[in-house]
Symmetry: C2
Subunit: 357 residues, 2 copies
């Protein structure tokens, strides 16, 4: 299926994810298509609301490509929301500015879990697959396209809590009190996410990423059972697919620095790291089994160009020589950032890593 | 000065902090005097507002002792706020229900930092010292009294941001862009906190604890410079005092699991651990140089008594044999918890650790 698209002109990301030599360190930015860009805000205003933006392939494609016009990025990432799957399950998602996501029908009981459907990506989530196809066509081989999903645990937190949470007390009550119900829910999510990412691969995604935004809120033992194992099932399912199985897979648990060694053993090609982890130490922990993606503190983008450049240099130096580094922030870019500062970041990564090698 | 108080009848906490043998594992709970207790809510209602509760020694004493009436706790902790020092610096603190703290005059510039006063504990913060003296008298030797302060970095986040924050973008801009100004601010805070904790020791506190609630938001290198080093200065200053220097000191960086080895080298007697860190692994990291305090996920207290008891057993087993464990939650207890569940926790710690030894 991928053969119908033009050849990739910039394969730095793919090579780095496979720990192969590159001419300079590839860079992309989590939430690179986002509110810090005036052109994004314009498209968003035209769409009316965030969900319409996600669900209209032409608009999702438009915002996906916007940062590539400004910056010399080495990847595009599908513009979408992490809650597309629970939305397709019919839980009644609404996203209100400043309030965060809400589900009208949260999942609380064994019966709620039993009744969940596994969405068919090419019907319930067709708009995502259409966006992937359109973006691949429009990208025309410039850079690879990253497809993604939220992790099972991360989706479960929103589905069970019904909204964003600080302590996750409801979903944690489920794992402590009804571990079998929680496991069933996470199993359904693992299957649904594997189907979803497989479909993105078939539609044209060239890298797959799992965002485990809230895994770091779990205890060390609970992380293994309720976040890592379900992600391992996804990786295993993807590896068994003739198309998805050949793509590089990135797993990112925010706040998971203590668990990198464990995470590196579930079969992904790369791990995301946030800024609390030294990449040098992370390399030791994962014994160069996987590539590492990260990990500049997004707050550095508030500083001057000189400081941004020197902070980029620090991250490159922290990773050290050898292949397998994909430069990124340690978390998504925040809305107030000056786009010119992003340009400094991207150019500095290429310039400083080229000099260094 | 301490000689004027009666002898300590329960020294489990002190012994465990010094890594000496105990008959069973001591336990106390962060925020044990708090909103989950109806008697606390009653006193709080009488006080009118939170700051009045903190600033009235009789009321602060009353709520400090309340949890000891219900539970077989091995320590009392001074009831106070972590923002007493910036309040005494005249930054205009207000605490509104549901909103979190706010400072009318945040600290943003070099001139703001220059003009900061170092509060004199026995004048500007006399109400805290009076509370310590009163609590010690009322405790009558039942259990030791823990005095505490927020860490320099944690206080700085509120002082610079002017309120609670999610990304700490203003205070991080200061450390990235104006590191010398940030260091000066943190230096003033280290000195002020050392004076404050020393005064608490002289007033009768028997253990001193530094809460670094937001250290975990820093990058690995920034943590060292802007949170750990300033805490090391506090420990050093306290060690030089004939009274404070003899007391056990606990340092707790929430989210600092990756840095435990470093933190264990600044001279404190014990480190707090949150639930993301395995105590077994933490012991390896700190090589039994220090005692460890923690680390049950507060969300476990929403579960049934049976589950709470088994989760307590898991934490005890995770720590393993030998001295140097102080049982606690990995973060403060949340407002909605059933006090009967806290009783189960406290009793389970004593029973299960006694059986095990």
């Amino acid at each position: 299926m991928n053969t119908s698209y033009p050849n990739l002109q910039n394969d730095r990301l793919i090579r780095a994810l496979r720990r192969q030599d590159v001419d300079c360190t590839p860079v992309w930015i989590m939430r690179q298509a986002g509110r810090y860009l005036p052109e994004y805000r314009a498209t968003r205003a035209r769409a009316g609301d965030f969900l319409t933006l996600c669900k209209t392939p032409e608009l999702a494609c438009e915002v996906t490509l916007q940062p590539l016009e400004r910056f010399d990025l080495d990847a595009a990432i599908l513009f979408s929301d992490i809650l597309t799957i629970p939305d397709a399950m019919g839980l009644g998602l609404s996203l209100n500015e400043g309030e965060g996501p809400r589900f009208a029908r949260p999942v609380r009981t064994a019966a709620d879990v039993e009744s969940l459907i596994r969405p068919d990506p090419e019907s319930n989530l067709r708009y995502v697959m259409d966006a992937v196809r359109l973006i691949r066509r429009e990208l025309n081989g410039r850079v690879p396209l990253i497809g993604f999903s939220g992790s099972p645990w991360t989706l479960a937190t929103y589905m069970v809590e019904g909204q964003s949470s600080r302590d996750f007390s409801i979903v944690k009550s489920m794992i402590y009190q009804e571990p079998l119900v929680a496991r069933q829910l996470l199993g359904i999510l693992s299957e649904s996410i594997a189907l979803y990412l497989r479909a993105q691969a078939h539609a044209g995604a060239q890298v797959l990423m799992v965002f485990d935004t809230w895994g770091g809120a779990l205890g060390h033992a609970e992380y293994r059972h309720f976040s890592l194992d379900p992600m391992a099932q996804i990786v295993e399912a993807l590896r068994a697919d003739p198309v998805a199985g050949t793509l590089p897979i990135i797993v990112f648990t925010k706040g998971g620095g203590q668990w990198l060694s464990r995470i590196s053993q579930i079969g992904s090609d790369a791990l995301g790291c946030d800024w609390t982890t030294s990449l040098r130490k992370a390399r030791r922990l994962v014994q160069d089994r996987v590539a590492l993606q990260g990990n500049l503190d997004p707050a550095v983008l508030n500083a001057t160009p000189e400081k941004i450049r020197s902070a980029v240099g620090d991250v490159l130096e922290d990773y050290g020589p050898g292949p397998g580094h994909i430069f990124n922030l340690g978390h998504g870019i925040t809305p107030g950032i000056d786009p010119d500062h992003v340009k400094v970041l991207v150019d500095s990564v290429h310039e400083l890593s080229r000099t260094a090698s």
